[in-house]
């Protein structure tokens, strides 16, 4: 009996094995087709569609407008320009208020408090001048623009407009081996690279997503805009006649942004054809129907999910950096501070690529946040050039209220137009901040891609700065 069952089972198994070869390659496809067919039949029997949905015509008209050959791009540029302009205009006021509170009121109060409880000088310096100041600086520069930029961006997304931007721009990204949605992560990067890297989740194809993550750093972020604008005003605006100075410096910043876009495309193209060639790739882009944006929900999610999380991470990284900045400026070895020693040591390399030791050291110790690069540069310049009576002392970051004062300090520190140009380029092409590096690691889960995303821009930056310096010096 059992033998009979066994032989029967065996013959069934053998039969099944034989059938396996006959079902061929496409049986998965046929299973999916059958499921859809079944679902369609059921839906056809039980779902009644009451007339044509009214939103149809509005959607069609709007879509025709935003994707037309004549109006598509102008509408896009106007909207994005409006978002940027509003961000810059609206962020100024709260930024100054927060800076006034955290840097000009709370900071001196904390110092006084330190004196009052007889805190040793080094401890109050480390805590208040180093750690507190770095954290406060990052908050005051970063929070207002992000809290304005992200909600506006999210509203456009919620309304359904952003997928249409990706749709219109895909042709450029396709040629670079990337996805049209990279246009969106790139724009997000102009707010914050860490947020841009997270936003790359919207790209569902593995290869294109990695490309978007690795190249996001070519969008100059919120922390780098002030550097660009300041240096452009000091070094390039001054070259033009006074009534055109504003225009000249604005053009210089736009040029740097365009250089960033150029590198983004070139690096995307290179990556997709070399190291990322084997990664799986596909394209699909859903264009959801337009809908009225949910304003309160958008405000909540973009402020909580995007702004505060990113800000928190930045502060967590900036605080130890503040401590480090204070320590290198205040620990002395053989009569000079550690910072001076390193600056002197780095200076030849810095000068070779058209920068200087101060800038290189500032970029090393201010990795956690681009926001504190300029205050660190100023402090280190004063420290290294031993300018008496300028700034707030060793290890205490500061900024001037007037551009002229900043220009004077930098020129006294030996800066030339070349230094200015190269600093702008290096600010564009250097490693992402540590928050972004950490985010890249979290998003990709790979040390390899994190290393590529970190090192590639620095290497490019050094090469570009070196070439510019050589050409500049040859030209006279």
């Amino acid at each position: 009996m059992s033998k009979n069952v066994q032989s029967k089972a065996e013959s069934i198994i053998n039969h099944a094995r034989g059938l396996r070869w006959q079902v061929g390659e496409s049986f998965h496809d046929r299973a999916i087709e059958a499921l859809y067919e079944e679902a369609t039949t059921i839906a056809g029997k039980s779902v009644i569609i009451a007339g044509e949905p009214p939103r149809f015509n509005f959607d069609r008209t709007l879509d025709r407008l935003v994707t037309s050959r004549w109006t598509g791009f102008p509408i896009m540029f106007l909207l994005l320009a409006a978002v940027f302009w509003l961000t810059i205009e609206l962020a100024n006021i709260p930024s100054q208020m927060i800076a006034g509170l955290l840097l000009d009121t709370v900071h001196p109060a904390l110092k006084e408090f330190g004196v009052w409880i007889h805190m040793p000088g080094w401890l109050s310096g480390l805590l208040f001048d180093g750690m507190y100041l770095a954290g406060a600086w990052v908050i005051s520069v970063m929070l207002p623009p992000m809290a304005i930029f992200f909600p506006m961006f999210t509203l456009l997304e919620d309304f359904g407009y952003l997928p249409r931007v990706a749709f219109n721009l895909d042709f450029m990204f396709r040629k670079a081996g990337a996805h049209g949605k990279q246009a969106l992560t790139m724009v997000m990067g102009y707010g914050c690279n860490a947020a841009g890297v997270v936003a790359a989740r919207i790209i569902d194809s593995p290869r294109e997503r990695l490309i978007a993550i690795i190249t996001n750093n070519f969008s100059i972020c919120n922390g780098r805009w002030p550097t660009q604008i300041l240096i452009a005003t000091i070094f390039l605006g001054a070259l033009a006649p006074p009534h055109l100075a504003g225009m000249a410096s604005a053009l210089a910043v736009v040029a740097v942004v365009l250089i960033g876009v150029f590198f983004m495309f070139v690096v995307s193209w290179g990556l997709s054809r070399t190291v990322l060639r084997g990664e799986a790739s596909t394209f699909s882009l859903e264009l959801p129907p337009y809908r009225p944006p949910r304003i309160l929900q958008t405000l909540y999610t973009s402020v909580i999910d995007r702004t505060l999380i990113v800000l928190w991470r930045a502060v967590v990284w900036a605080v130890p950096a503040g401590a480090l900045i204070w320590l290198v400026s205040n620990i002395s070895l053989g009569g000079q501070s550690l910072a001076e020693g390193v600056i002197n040591w780095l200076n030849p390399a810095g000068v070779l690529i058209g920068l200087n030791g101060v800038i290189l050291l500032a970029y090393v110790i201010a990795i956690p946040a681009n926001e504190i690069v300029i205050p660190t540069v100023l402090m280190l310049t004063v420290l290294a050039a031993k300018m008496a009576g300028v700034g707030s002392g060793a290890g205490v970051m500061f900024e001037f209220d007037s551009t002229e004062a900043t220009a004077m300090v930098l020129q006294a520190g030996g800066w030339t137009i070349l230094t200015g140009i190269n600093l702008m380029l290096f600010s564009l092409l250097h490693n992402p901040c540590s928050t972004t590096i950490y985010t890249i690691y979290r998003e990709t889960g790979s040390v390899k891609w994190t290393a590529v995303a970190t090192l590639l821009p620095v290497i490019l930056g050094v090469i570009v700065c070196f070439l510019v310096a050589q050409v500049w010096r040859m030209a006279g």
Partner: protein
């Protein structure tokens, strides 16, 4: 020499010696492993070659092996003698035959090779012309357990992307009734089931001309110097040596797609069609994504709008609007249905 220098000298010597002789990690151990690996690869390549020759019904001689594996005649004679001594081969007259152990060893390697090709085709974007070469390397490095895990992950595929059946873990292969494309008559319609992947240059040429397993072809003209076929609405001319590398089966009448083949990319705004299929050349992630979006045979699809540059184009399918690039729309076959 003072004691300090001596100590440093001894340390340097020790470091050098351990770098050379450290078990598993040292240079000597590495050379030995890589030699063993190279030897293993030669043995496995020889078994594969023998299997191939037997499958084609050709005799296998030491000269043939030497030629196929690019080694000298004495080397190949040596290798064959060794294979006989470990029971993988037996000598019959001047030729060699695989023993059943030898055959199952060869099938294991072929199984890994074809599974890996399937993996490259479905899960990566490695280009078609590199599949075979990559698998040639990988086949020696994957264990039976890893192969079984890979097979599970890929959903137990039966065929590799060239149409070759993948041997099961027990070494089973189906009977196939393929014939060469050159054996067809003018006007005959057949389905391509297999494209020979060697030599790679021929394969690359065939792939570039748009051939893939699952393609339906109709012979238009047979000449001694050229064969012309029609596939997906295009006429393709082939040299007979290339055509001989394509295997076909005749299709049952209900599977023959008739009429003019149209692709989704031919539709203009406002026009609609019914999906009849997705080309087999669209594989893996790309294919799954399209099917997930509801692009399956029978679905009604309409051009919703074109982007500023007319590529990508947005289509409405099953109530959703999705944008596809032209390269994708080219791989979706449709049948036209007049707009309403």
């Amino acid at each position: 020499m003072n004691p300090g220098e001596m100590l440093i000298g001894v340390l340097v010597l020790l470091a050098g010696a351990s770098a050379l002789f450290w078990p598993d990690r040292g240079l000597m151990a590495r050379i030995k492993t890589s030699k063993l690996q190279a030897d293993r690869e030669r043995v496995e390549d020889a078994l594969k070659h023998l299997y191939d020759m037997e499958a084609k019904g050709l005799p296998c001689t030491p000269e043939g092996i030497a030629d196929a594996l690019s080694m000298s005649a004495p080397e190949s004679a040596n290798l064959l003698r060794r294979l006989v001594s470990i029971g993988l081969l037996k000598a019959e007259g001047g030729a060699f035959r695989l023993t059943s152990e030898g055959r199952s060893y060869a099938l294991r390697i072929i199984r890994v090779h074809r599974l890996w090709e399937r993996y490259l085709a479905d899960e990566t974007a490695v280009s078609e012309s590199d599949w075979h070469l990559e698998a040639e390397k990988k086949e020696h490095l994957i264990s039976a357990e890893e192969a079984a895990a890979l097979e599970r992950r890929l959903g137990h595929p039966a065929y590799d992307p060239h149409g070759d059946p993948i041997p099961s873990a027990a070494g089973e292969l189906p009977e196939v009734s393929w014939k060469s494309l050159t054996a067809l008559k003018e006007g005959e319609i057949a389905g391509i089931v297999h494209i020979e992947d060697e030599p790679p240059a021929y394969y690359a040429q065939l792939a570039a001309q748009g051939f893939y397993p699952g393609l339906q072809v109709r012979v238009i003209e047979l000449r001694t110097d050229r064969i012309t076929v029609e596939a997906n609405g295009n006429e393709i001319a082939l040299a007979p040596v290339l055509a001989a590398n394509l295997s076909v089966v005749s299709l049952p009448a209900e599977q023959i797609k008739s009429g003019i083949v149209r692709t989704l990319s031919m539709l203009r705004p406002g026009e609609r069609g019914i999906v009849t299929g997705i080309s087999q050349a669209c594989r893996g992630l790309q294919r799954r994504r399209l099917m997930d979006l509801g692009v399956v045979p029978g679905a009604v699809i309409e051009v919703a709008m074109e982007s500023v540059t007319r590529d990508p184009v947005a289509y409405s399918v099953r109530g959703a609007t999705i944008a596809l690039r032209k390269q994708q729309a080219d791989m979706i076959f449709i049948e036209e249905k007049g707009g309403e």
